[in-house]
Amino acid sequence: MLRTVSIDSLMPYIGVVLLVIAGSFFFPQVLSAGYLSQQLQIAAFLGLLATGATIVILLGHIDLSVPWVLTGAAILSTALVGSGNPVLSAIAVPAALAFGALIGIVNGIGVAILRIPSMVWTLAVNSMLLGLAVLNTGGFNPRGEASPLMIAMASGDILGLPISFLIWIALSIALAGFLTRTPFGRYLRSIGFNEKATFLSGVSTPSVVFTAFAIAGMCSALGGVMLAGYANQAYQSMGDPFLLPTIAAVVIGGTSILGGRGGLFGTIGGALFITLLTSILSVMQIEDAWRNIIFGTIILVMLLFQTLRKGAAA
């Protein structure tokens, strides 16, 4: 984890602090434990998606299939639980994760074998998943239901800390360890910088790509499961609001969109920042037009800070 801590990755944390302070001027309650822990809980959903996205972006790719992997996983898990069959409800979460991994592999095949740019291939996969979901809902659609486990994962808390947040952080730490302590992590970054040289060093680059996309898929799926737990239901296109914030969270966290550079520590900050920003803009009842403008501007400012700092360093 520490290896991935850079000044850039600290930027969003500073941003978070500033936001909280600024927000507390308008609403003192922003400083309340209730509000803050709530933000942690909600940030976890975005955070899980961003965690997966970070892995793929480190690889030098991008995954646009997040929204409907998320939705698909949610529909699948709630359907299994809704079936009322104890066995099926027990495997609901694992099944959803498997679904995510599977889609991840499909993404990986297009990218690593057919060499299709991830940006369009994952987009196509996304629209196929949408098609599947529509088709499924159109046919016999079982009564969906979130299992107590899913609800606990999304809304429960341990000593005041939201479980969703704990899951997210635990996963991030685990993955960060995985990225820094295993060859896989090294291969990931190396491919992000220079896939050819990595391949020539005797690395089976396709399998690295598969693994990365599979992990990302599972993260999206987990996000879907927990969102289903949160809303206690699954519904069409519940993932659509998450795509762009996910990417924003990753880059604000200092991960280079070109691949190779960055890490999960920054992404955590990025997800927290984006969540808090949206929340504060929302509770301040700022008109939608201005929310868009402010949101975009703040992101730009953060990024400009990053380059300014580099300029100063160089």
């Binding site: 090294r186 190396s190 005797g202 690395v203």
Partner: protein, 509 residues
């Protein structure tokens, strides 16, 4: 830009107290340097001596940290290549300035004199064309994508492109590093002509016979400083090397041990064929043997080497490692313990290294995949690094901060960590200075003595003769001559590369 014959009293280009720092590295340190019209001024120095940096300053690609440049006695500030061009300072860059996805024609037009952002008239193309013809590149079609050209062809285009700009000062930074002897001659004639018409030439090369052939004056650089400047012939070959490396180099090539016939065969390839580029090639390498692959560029030797490393699909023929017939379908398989081949690719910057990562990380990348090795263990590399005397400011620095010679050492060390049974090298000494070369030759020979089998592809026939126990010359995908012992002479090699099999020796190929 018409080239005025400036009288020799005021030098065409004058540099005063020039320093260039990259963070900690002092690429150039208070250098004074002048260059007169109508002379070929050779610049010598080992890798990282600062030659290219100096040239990049003249070409306006880099700006000096301190110091002043003068053209015709006038102070100038070359903030961009355009400004340099306006003064007639043209550089033929070492890492070429050709755009891969554009055609040869488009590349020649790019930044050609008078070519602005508007409509491109295509002036000067014919000039470029006859330059190409003269340096034996007539067959290059104007319509081909540069990406589809071989490295030598690109260098030829780059030369044409430079000359097309009617330079007053022409810089050739390792312009000929990949060109075969015959082509080089054509280039030299051209350069001499330019010189005689009053152009100043700055010439960088690591090949002494080229300096010998072309230079009027010579400047030697070491560690970012100009050691000395003198007329060619004022100093002997070994004196110059002494200046370059700051110490004497006794023998460029290590002595060849008598080849032992009975050593067992490590790698044996039979009837290797791929597409139309490699045709029915059979050869084998014994323990402790260094086998050379020669020939003009693109005759199949490069592809053959790739094939051995499992980079070619649908290749025919059989490969046996120490008697074991084996299928090698990927680098991953090739580096497995029971096969343990290593391949040093031709282009270290894009294929051998990950420039943005640290030296350490690059060293580890190959060993990581080997369960029997602990890639993190620095002892794995220490040996070869000492032997190669890697010049670096810390293993955690990006490998890009090394000059090419040192980058090449990293590529070697990275693979030597796997203690490969058979080492495949694709022109490992291109653009590498003498000292580094000797270090590389020494370590290759040592490895051989320790039992490693080595296949060395080289464009430098000195290496094929002095270093290799046996040399196979490729022509049009086939091995047209296999030379060893006394047959291993320049004449035979040149004859074979041009496939004029007049010499009797070539018979038993």
């Amino acid at each position: 830009m018409v080239s005025i014959m400036s009288d020799n009293s005021t030098p065409l280009l004058e540099m005063r107290g020039i320093s260039k720092h990259f963070g900690a590295t002092k690429a150039l340190d208070r250098v004074d340097f002048t260059c007169n019209a109508g002379e070929v001024h050779a610049v010598l120095g080992e890798n990282g001596a600062g030659k290219s940096t100096l040239m990049k300053l003249i070409a306006g690609v880099l700006q000096p940290t301190h110091g002043q440049l003068r053209v015709d006695g006038q102070d100038v500030f070359l903030n961009t290549p355009q400004t340099a061009l306006r003064h007639g300072l043209v550089c033929m860059f070492q890492e070429l300035s050709l755009v891969p996805d554009l055609t040869v024609r488009e590349n020649l037009l790019l930044g050609a004199p008078g070519a602005g952002l508007g409509w491109l008239a295509g002036t000067g193309l014919d000039k470029a064309q006859d330059v190409l013809n003269r340096i034996g590149a007539g067959q290059i079609k104007m319509g081909t994508r540069v990406a589809d050209l071989t490295l030598p062809q690109r260098q030829q285009v780059e030369i044409a492109k430079a000359i097309m700009k009617k330079p007053r000062l022409l810089i050739l930074d390792e312009a000929t590093s990949a060109l075969s002897a015959s082509v080089v001659e054509g280039v030299f004639d051209l350069v001499r002509e330019e010189r005689d018409s009053g152009t100043a030439i700055l010439f960088i090369s690591h090949r002494f016979h080229e300096i010998e052939a072309l230079a009027d004056r010579v400047s030697v650089f070491r560690n970012g400083q100009r050691v000395e400047t003198f007329m060619k012939g004022d100093h002997t070959y070994s004196e110059i090397i002494g200046m370059m490396v700051g110490q004497k180099i006794e023998e460029l090539f290590p002595p060849k041990p008598p080849s032992q016939r009975d050593a067992d065969i490590v790698l044996d390839v039979q009837n290797y064929t791929w597409e139309s580029q490699v045709r029915d090639v059979s050869l084998s390498v014994k323990r402790g043997q260094i086998v050379g692959l020669g020939g003009l560029d693109g005759q199949g030797q490069g592809a053959f080497l790739m094939g051995l490393f499992g980079l070619l699909r649908k290749a025919e023929g059989t490969t046996a490692i120490s008697g074991q017939a084996t299928e090698i379908n990927s680098p991953k398989e090739a580096k497995k313990r029971d096969i343990s081949l290593a391949y040093i690719p031709e282009d270290r910057k894009t294929e051998g290294l990950i420039l943005d990562q640290s030296i350490q990380e690059n060293l580890e990348l190959a060993a990581l995949g080997r369960p029997d090795l602990d890639a993190g263990d620095t002892a794995l590399y220490a040996g070869s690094l000492d032997q190669l005397a890697l010049k670096h400011g810390g293993l955690e620095l990006p490998v890009s901060s090394l000059s090419g010679g040192n980058q090449q050492k990293v590529v070697l060390a990275k693979w030597l960590a796997l203690k490969p049974r058979c080492l495949l090298l694709a022109d490992p000494t291109r653009g590498i200075d003498v000292k580094t070369k000797t270090q590389i030759y020494a370590i290759l020979r040592k490895l051989a003595d320790q039992g490693t089998a080595i296949i060395l592809l080289s464009t430098d026939y000195e290496e094929l003769i002095q270093l290799c126990d046996e040399t196979h010359i490729f022509f049009d995908g086939k091995v047209v001559a296999s030379l060893n012992g006394d047959d291993l002479t320049p004449e035979n090699i040149i004859a074979a590369t041009l496939n004029v099999a007049s010499e009797p020796q070539a018979a038993h190929a």
